[in-house]
Amino acid sequence: MNSVSKPLWPVLLGISLMLTTFGILHAAPSAQQWQSLNHSLVEEHILPRYQALQNSSARLAASSTALCRQPDPRQLKQVQSDYHQTMDAWQAVQHIQFGPIETLMRNFSMQFWPDRKNLIGKQLNLLLQQQDPQTLSTGYLYKASIGVKGLPALERLLFDSTLSDFENNSYRCHLSQTIAAYIAENSQATLAEWNADYRHSIATADSEASYYESHQEASVDMMKSLVEPVEAIRDQKILRPLNEGDQVRPRRLESWRSQRSLRNIQLNIASLKDLYSGTTHSVDSLLREQGRAPQADNISSLFNTIEQQLKTVQTPLVTHLPQAETVKRLRQISDALQQLDRELSAEMITLDIQLGFNSRDGD
């Protein structure tokens, strides 16, 4: 042993220094590390958010029912406020696109957006014209078009109306109540399935019973939830309304009717930041354990930059979008998001996470 190590150690040291410099020596995280990360993210990030969604949507369902019983300005305000709370909760968990929220396309049922062909408007108007009492049950909504059962349909009903529309036991009021009840049921079922099954499946990701074959495979779903929304927010919530090279399109903004387009983006970014670094074991801490502290710092500061930039944009976005200053600031945010997307994607390679090759860019 000695006779070998003596002449060789300077060489080995040299090689290892070289490898460290080029970042090749960082081994991929262990199954144990992935398991810890998954545990933190499920318990501290995902479940509390679905809990919040369940709570706020239950309040929304209750106040919508009360509005039909006693339509007055105060109660309509209350329903609108509960709608905002529910949308807050949804925007804070919109990035989680795996697990029970995918079952029966609950994600699309909660929010079908962007709606390029005005499917929601068409389907909703049809219901409002026909006023068929049979449509006023959540049972009907389970089978109904994706357009009429979620938060955007409810937004139209609540924010495109006056109090008189909700009076006299109107169909419109009862439809709002039914959609709110459906959203509450969906939220409740999502949380229930996480608690009953999916949480366990992730905790035991390397066992026979699990949906996953390994802890890393479960982490891939978590990492997709971190990386993929960055580009989606940029493309759909910022660039599409900016309509590069042409006139801005305010009605392409998400939630423009309830004047909360910017707030949605702020909540999305805050959630992604929490997913990145807000839990006991986090992607941030994992990167540091892998010797990628400078890159982790970079990502953190990008999140902070974007949060600061968002604060400088004037609201409501739907009215300020045509202003040159707003366009300029949104472009800066778009650039920062692109940078964040690049940095996060690069670190996925460091972490040996393949986000999807055929599924993301197939042919």
Partner: protein, 372 residues
């Protein structure tokens, strides 16, 4: 040094200097018997064509000049044709026994490939789908192996965006999937005509280019792109579809075609069909020709179908799984994934086994059995 030389050669695009072929497996009967070939993206960031043995060893590792799509084995000789994905312009013809690049075909000027090509049953022709960029019209181009892959015929595909093509069994008839989606290299991979796209399944005479049969989907389903097809020994074609319309629609994503009949659409049970996320990536028949597999990489699942009576049988989970090929066992397939995993699944026994690959790579869309 090695990296610099390789990069330089790639820029040069030289067929003489470029090949870096290594015989990775040592001698030994089973370990050198080929099983499948596929293009992949390596951890080195480069694109590779791999040939894997029955013992899951790497028999061939050929560096490609860019991302490829489908790999086609020659029916009689130890050749693989690896075709650039759209809008690429190379086809590498590799002799895997001699471990050498035999020929790098470059698409003609004003043309690019769509990622698919086949050898004719008699092994004399290489037939590819191509884009005539100026007109946006699809072309079927035939190159002669005897004449150093020179072009001997160039027909219209009678559609836009022809993708996969297949030669019908025991006949001189080609079946072509005209995906219907217009792209232009100036706009990368952007889809330019989603509102008006009109995909079709076309049958052509291999020798004359004559149009023999054309099938389209009902007008309201014109956004279902007909992209990937396979034909069994009875001449039945299975079709994997991709929906280009709004998410949330739950349309059929698999179809079957028999000569002279309209395309018949097939849906999986609702939860499975929805889970396929409007996107199928590959379709293959099994060895018997009765069963078919259709991959849904966005839904992380593979669906299996009995095409004797056109019904859905089952599905298996395969994260980012897309590549499919039949083994010599009835109802059995190999499935490759972008995660690097390859599994073998038998529909009848329900058994799934993971192949013991030591190679870690992102397998690209298609997988091909090699059995010479």
């Amino acid at each position: 040094m090695e990296i610099n030389r390789r990069r330089f050669c790639q820029l040069l695009g030289s067929a003489v200097l470029l090949p870096r072929l290594t015989l990775a497996a040592s001698a030994g009967d089973n370990s050198t018997k080929p099983m499948f070939a596929a293009a992949a993206k390596g951890r080195d960031g480069q694109y590779h064509l791999y040939l894997i043995s029955q013992q899951s060893q790497v028999l061939l590792d050929h560096i490609l000049p860019g991302r490829a799509h489908h790999t086609e084995p020659h029916p009689q000789r130890p050749l693989l044709a690896c075709i650039a994905r759209r809008p690429g312009s190379f086809i590498d013809i590799v002799d895997y026994q001699a471990q050498r690049l035999v020929k790098r075909i470059i698409a003609g000027s004003g043309r690019h490939f769509f990622g698919h090509g086949i050898f004719s049953h008699d092994g004399r022709w290489l037939i590819t789908t191509e884009n005539e960029i100026s007109s946006g019209q699809g072309r079927i181009v035939i190159r002669s192996l005897e004449d150093n892959y020179s072009i001997i015929a160039d027909y219209p595909s009678y559609g836009i965006g022809p993708h996969e093509l297949i030669q019908q069994p025991d006949s001189e008839v080609l079946t072509v999937a005209n995906g219907g989606i217009l792209t232009h290299p100036d706009h990368g991979r952007e889809k330019l005509n989603l509102e008006t796209m009109q995909p079709s399944l076309m049958r052509l005479n291999l020798h004359t280019g004559e149009r023999l049969e054309q099938q389209v989907l009902p007008a309201e389903l014109h956004q279902l792109s007909i992209r990937h097809i396979d034909t069994n020994r009875q001449g039945t074609t299975v079709i994997a579809l991709q929906y280009q319309g709004d998410a949330g629609q739950n349309l059929p994503l698999v179809a079957v075609h028999r000569s002279g009949q309209a395309i018949q659409l097939l849906s999986a049970p609702e939860p499975v069909n929805r889970a396929m996320k409007g996107y199928c990536g590959s379709a293959r028949f099994d060895d018997s020709g009765r069963f078919a597999a259709v991959s849904a990489p966005r839904g992380d699942l593979i669906s299996f179908w009995d095409l004797q009576d056109n019904h859905f049988i089952s599905s298996v989970r395969s994260p980012d799984g897309c590549g499919l090929t039949a083994t010599h066992n009835t109802a059995e397939f190999i499935i490759s994934a972008g995660t690097g995993r390859c599994i073998r699944h038998n529909i009848l026994s329900g058994e799934t086994t993971r192949m013991p690959l030591t190679l870690k790579t992102a397998w690209d869309n298609h997988l091909t059995s090699v059995s010479l």
